[in-house]
Symmetry: C2
Subunit: 609 residues, 2 copies
């Protein structure tokens, strides 16, 4: 009970199934919960574009604007494409569902695996980038990146175990704080440029761009594509919108794409004119804020709000990862535990799994965003491509109203994301994309094997095609009760044994013949009606002689089932349990996998000690 109270304190009281419908949330809150992943990409998108360019040559950063425009175009295509998905799948059209239903099982499992990887990486990348932004403003944090990252993941886990409604309240404020502080920065930056109070170091548009290798351009583009990650979150999360869910979700998606696109372009543009270069210890957005606000208190708004939205972006995954696990679990491609909703209408097991994986990645990559990102993009674009491709098939199959135009949008989306996928996989292969390309097929194999196992168990346990007996017959049943002496606890166990069967035998494992001599008269006095077998144990072992005796009883009685009753006692204080022999534990461990034997502990509860 004390455990339950602790649980309630941290994750709140349970919520009845009937209340599930009331947990739906309005658009402006849903934007906060589901778009933080996408919007927060602003934090690292520009930086990722700049890193390869700046590493090549200082002048190469001039290419950042054209690349950013290309990425913004990609974002527009994606948003148009996903609007179709929301329309067709009002109950939540994740890449898993769409690909499975339209492209077949394997495509679905690949998309599912890719999405699971993405969600984990969203948490890891967002938390790492959030810490880096905070560390830009408060440098002492830089030394404890990993520790802070792990703590943040644990806090997110607890928040999400509390349930979705309370989460949306927690997350609304930082999202709008982020939007507001960036708008202020853009306005002030633009004002400074117009009034000339700050002199931009670079022209906005170049007459001639420096010549750089195409591969480098592509790598820069591929890096920047992480800015569009999270676009699919809204189409996966349609069911949490208030009615009419689909319409609300589409509107929210459009808002989100518009905000994300303009913020990304804005940061890239301002970074370019203010001559911001990526550097160790300060993120690009923090550096931009310093260039615009100087050392005034407004400077802190950007890194702090960015960190907040990033840390909370991880929450998108906490909404979607357990939901996807539950979908895959329902289809029996993941362990059934993921299927269970916890007490709080959330999917507790998925939340635990996600947190553990994210902590692992943060520790493994020492909390460095830039090293995590190459893993991130591959999975995202695999799921994008499969999802759009699935939609194309969907339109051709169902031929609903305006299906041709819809399939055009989705076709364009599929083609674009496929090309981007190739670019990302090739240019980022050696930087970490290979890990995902290796893990993904392994996950699909595991999914299939899990499924195979469930089918096999189901078939073996099934009663279909079997004839019911006229009535269930009890087993021919014997009881064996090993004793270490005779006291109140043993008497209780003996009485229990007598109530289970008429065929009860006690046995005593003898280490010391003297002790046996003392025991026998006591036995005669207290329990003469039960036969007592004395078993010598020259090796002072308990389990093996006991097993031999059980086999002997089995042989003599020809019974179907033997119950082994172990007398134990329970002390009043739990830590006193350690003071007593754990023989029962070893007997149980030795016999647990043995057929025909049921091991039962009868516990005598001490009243005073």
């Amino acid at each position: 009970m004390r455990f339950l109270r602790l649980k309630y304190f941290f994750i709140g009281k349970p919520i009845a199934t009937d209340r599930a419908a009331h947990e739906l949330i309005p658009k402006w809150k849903a934007l906060a919960v589901l778009s933080s992943d996408a919007l927060s990409s602003v934090a690292y998108g520009t930086e990722e574009v700049l890193i390869p360019l700046a590493a090549f040559a200082a002048t190469a950063v001039a290419w950042s604007m054209p690349i950013a425009l290309a990425i913004a175009a990609l974002l527009t295509i994606l948003a148009l494409s996903y609007r179709q998905t929301i329309h067709a799948y009002p109950h939540g059209g994740g890449a898993y569902t769409v690909a499975k239903e339209n492209l077949g099982l394997n495509a679905g499992l690949v998309a599912g695996a890719a999405l699971l990887i993405d969600y984990v990486l969203t948490v890891a990348v967002s938390v790492a980038a959030g810490i880096e932004n905070i560390a830009s403003a408060f440098p002492f944090i830089a030394h404890h990146k990993v520790a802070f990252g792990c703590i943040v993941v644990l806090l997110l886990m607890v928040t999400n175990l509390r349930g979705v409604r309370e989460s949306s309240n927690v997350f609304a404020f930082p999202t709008y704080f982020f939007i507001l502080s960036f708008i202020i920065m853009f306005v002030v930056g633009a004002w400074q440029m117009v009034t000339g109070s700050a002199s931009p170091v670079a022209p906005i548009l170049h007459e001639a761009y420096p010549a750089i290798p195409l591969f480098l351009l592509l790598r820069s583009f591929a890096s920047g594509c992480v800015a569009v990650t999270g676009t699919e979150a809204i189409s996966n999360g349609v069911p949490i919108f208030k009615i009419p869910s689909a319409q609300n979700a589409r509107t929210t998606l459009t808002w989100m794409a518009f905000i994300l696109g303009s913020f990304f372009l804005g940061v890239t543009l301002l970074s370019h004119v203010y001559g911001i270069y990526p550097q160790e210890g300060e993120t690009v957005v923090a550096a931009l804020s310093r260039a615009i606000f100087g050392s005034s208190v407004f400077y802190y708004f950007i890194p702090v709000s960015t960190a907040l939205i990033l840390l909370l972006a991880a929450n998108t995954s906490y909404a979607d990862f357990p939901r996807l696990c539950s979908l895959i679990g329902d289809d029996r491609y993941l362990p059934r535990q993921f299927k269970n909703r916890g007490d709080r209408l959330v999917f507790s097991n998925g939340i635990f799994g996600l947190s553990a994986a994210a902590v692992f990645l943060i520790i493994l990559f020492k909390g460095r965003t830039h090293h995590l990102i190459p893993l991130y993009a591959v999975g995202v674009f695999i799921s994008f491509t499969l999802s759009q491709l699935g939609m194309v098939r969907y339109h051709f199959k169902h031929r609903r109203k305006k299906w041709l135009i819809s399939s055009l949008f989705n076709g364009l989306g599929a083609l674009t994301t496929f090309v981007v996928l190739l670019v990302v996989a090739v240019t980022k292969f050696i930087f970490g994309a290979w890990i995902v390309l290796l893990v993904l097929p392994c996950m699909v194999v595991v999914f299939r094997r899990i499924h195979h196992h469930y089918l096999a168990v189901g078939a073996e346990l099934s009663l279909i095609g079997k004839n019911p007996p006229p009535r269930l017959e009890p087993f021919n049943h014997a009881v064996v009760i090993p004793i270490s002496g005779i006291h109140c606890g043993v008497l209780e166990a003996l009485r229990y044994a007598l109530s289970l069967s008429h065929n009860v035998r006690a046995c005593y494992i003898e280490f010391d013949p003297e002790a046996t001599k003392r025991l026998l008269p006591q036995w005669e006095q207290w329990a003469a009606q039960i036969p007592l077998e004395i078993i010598r144990s020259p090796f002072r072992s308990i389990v093996r002689p006991l097993l031999r005796y059980i086999n002997q009883v089995d042989h003599e009685t020809q019974c179907d089932m033997i119950t082994l009753i172990i007398p134990e006692f329970i002390t009043k204080k739990w830590y006193h349990q350690f003071l007593h022999n754990q023989t029962a534990f070893f007997i149980r461990a030795a016999l647990i996998f043995k057929p025909k034997i049921v091991v039962t502990s009868v516990r005598y509860h001490l009243q005073n000690t």
Copy 2:
């Protein structure tokens, strides 16, 4: 069974109780097993004497010889004193037994606690010093002291779980290798001095010793007293000697004291004449070896053989710590688990406990001998004093042959060790002795509370003074079986339930009314004879509705005992178990401490999956 095979591989097959007598070992082997602790003190004794002196002034090291002579005198007194103990206690007269029998329970418990602390510190100090010696010869090891220390402790643990005979074989070689290499070093060193091929930097005896504070002299003496640790090991270990045990043990003790004393004096003398100072990264014995052998291969003999005997000295504790735990456990002042001999005639639980504590200390003190030693000496001299004092009382009580002379020896021993104890406690208090003086009374309190608990449990379980009933009556008994559906595994559990009682009820926790509708006709078909109760669970919880139902059954049937049968199934591959709902586990965890309920799992063994 696979586990058993693994166990046999690592710790060998079990040995029958009858063979215990054959595990006795001859004097020369016993010297190796029981004296390594004492002899290995040579490795750090001189160094500990030198450190306080050298830190004060370079000339102060001249005092090392007089201090070493004082310590050698202390050793002689101890050896004479312990010869009386062996005579009086041929079955092993540890300080615990001697103090308890002659000075009363509290003195015994204090001595016991002090000894347990000592044994742990012997392992920690010896392993740390051994690693430091090896690191003197092979400096790269110095960076991984703690890791190597922990590995060595684990290896010792495995060796000792294999049993005492095999241990003595393992340990005979290094002990004699150590004795031989030191004799060679002494001979070569003496030869060099006599022939003048090496010129000693300091005279052996000084005409006038430099004036230094008395407190410093005492601290140097107190530090050096660690050289006599381990002297008591032989008197504790009398029972492992071949018959006549006591006579053999006394002879071995004399040998041991002679070797230890002359080696300690030899090292101190040579260190002085060769001008060896303690310094970081090289132990005094290794430095001495370098001074005498130069860089020839003989140089390595000393650090390697010292490391070997030190690492193996820890084994003295592995022989004595579990034996002492078992003695204290027999008296019920320690958990009974320590009382159990393992399969291999050794006391497995004590061995595990000792290893864990030693690893803890090595990690805590970062494997530095010099920091561990202040903790070491206090405990040793507490047990010395109590043991000798106990012997004085013994002689006065029993007044055997030559009791007066024996009590004189023991009295001298007690007085000397008590004075040394005071010196050590005062001069080493702030360097760590306080830890022991704090932990020791806590241990005594824990001993007494454990004892109190066992007495209380025994009294509560006891049948003494109770009247046996004419015959044992079975309980009034009901069976409840929660089901999640109906399949082969459930049918097996139902048949088992029917064989236990005529009062069997099944219950089904309903999450989804649709599933119930599908279940009911199947139930009618297969198990109509057993009443099935449908329990709604709006919170999707299983445990609480089940508990409510059990209380209801309890109330209706007015029974004494309810058996809850949980149908489970066992997959063929153990790791497949994780794919199945662990509901049974949670039910068991929730009900384990509830009186009147017995929880039993009936396991259906899948044949194919």
